[in-house]
Point group: C2
Chain length 303, copies 2
Amino acid sequence: MPYALAIHGGAGLIRRDALTPEREAACSVVLHAALDAGEAILAAGGPSLEAVQAAVLVLEDSPLFNAGRGAVLTGAETVEHDAAVMCGRRRAAGAVTGSTRIRNPILAARHVLEHTRHVLLCGPGADTLASEAGLAMVEPSWFVTPERVEQVRRAVREDRFGLDHDSGADDAYGTVGAVACDSAGHLAAATSTGGMVNQRPGRVGDTPLIGAGTWAWDATCAVSGTGHGELFVHRHVGARISDWMDIGGLDLTTACDRVIAELPAEAGGVVAVDRHGNIAMPFSSAGMFRGAVSASGRTVAIW
Amino acid sequence: MPYALAIHGGAGLIRRDALTPEREAACSVVLHAALDAGEAILAAGGPSLEAVQAAVLVLEDSPLFNAGRGAVLTGAETVEHDAAVMCGRRRAAGAVTGSTRIRNPILAARHVLEHTRHVLLCGPGADTLASEAGLAMVEPSWFVTPERVEQVRRAVREDRFGLDHDSGADDAYGTVGAVACDSAGHLAAATSTGGMVNQRPGRVGDTPLIGAGTWAWDATCAVSGTGHGELFVHRHVGARISDWMDIGGLDLTTACDRVIAELPAEAGGVVAVDRHGNIAMPFSSAGMFRGAVSASGRTVAIW
């Protein structure tokens, strides 16, 4: 069976005048590198769960996107990471929210999936688990870039709370995620984020919430979302797409388009795959950093 | 239109030999008091959102159930509360997870719904918000009862992690919740819990996760779940029931039965109402503390 992989680096306003050719090229390089990392595993016959994790690791490690290093800051100028993975074969997930010291939150989410009886761990409990598991830990200040401090101070001054991309100027970054179908037909999804600029400390968005920003089930699809997290939670976007396929009999593209259309305008977007290797990447925002590789070839795009 | 209210005090094994007649009677008194509190609002033409909050407040304040005072303890012998409310009319929710000092977590969830731009706040961020909002705060030790300390130490000794009810002996308590349809046909749901005995600190179950343990949408139903939280998250139980109605065209009872049947055996149960005032209270566990009041009269039951 042909494999398929789709990734995103966030949806939002992404003002064309704010995204310099240099930054656009740099983002494109990272998106290609993430596709490379995931595809290497899939091409070798490896599992989709490893592929989405590998792709998200590349995106977390890049300060160009809102995850891992370079994540946006809360109103208290702190970093709080959220991440989730879901295995469509086992229909099981792992996630963390509000971690502050885990270098790669996606690895902590994977650890929750593989080695605990829980789905989601929050706050210090997530940091403690990751540390006990021997994952790489860093000081919270390691994640903070001067650009992010300047960004959140501007947002606080203007009493603005929003998507990273909507902050204008040079703030064209976003939540990251990946979905994949491997050659055995198994699906997986992974999502990682620093949340929204100027969010309240402790705020949990859709990323670590299974069925909202992250979802995978072999019978239907794998979904990773990006956008206004609260809307994605209220409409349980990931599971809703799955239910439109499973209960409603829609195909992947129609189900994704339908659920994006059910959301308020400009809410965001998703990347999704089904077990036949079909890919959908709809969004209602002005743009979404995204990339895909499948039997149809490779694409990387923003608008 | 006739109003309807259904509540639960947890699902689980609930060993008949462990539930003395005295405790059973005491639980029944509290369930009736919770129904009284919610019904008083509905009978006066008040909103379902106020009714479910009032019912859950009564259950949180009783040490007989696993919420508020008397909540079960984590493996670190600490209390971590989760609570959520959802308004079916606005299709909006508020929730907290991992709070340790909020006397009534359901009020903090309501505050998140009404006064923040977020859906879910975790850990110290939830406590801080509640404190700023002027909600009653207590020392974490106020929630801890000697019975709960004994219970978790037994679970740690036996390396057991599970539903409150499954802990045997005199541990017949559970997560609490309420759903209601008011005379205007608006739906609401509220759920509150201390989680699972001997859970890892930081563990988040289904209760505060919108679409899993708590769900309300006027077009379909309001749902409050109780049981093995992780299973309810993996199957997005609340929203799945809603999707079976909305997408699949099933009625409330058939949709609830179907989703409970999709879960592994003995996973738990739900209470649910639709906009016509129909009530469903299915469970796959041995028992579920529950009560309902509607045009059909009032019931309180365990098995």
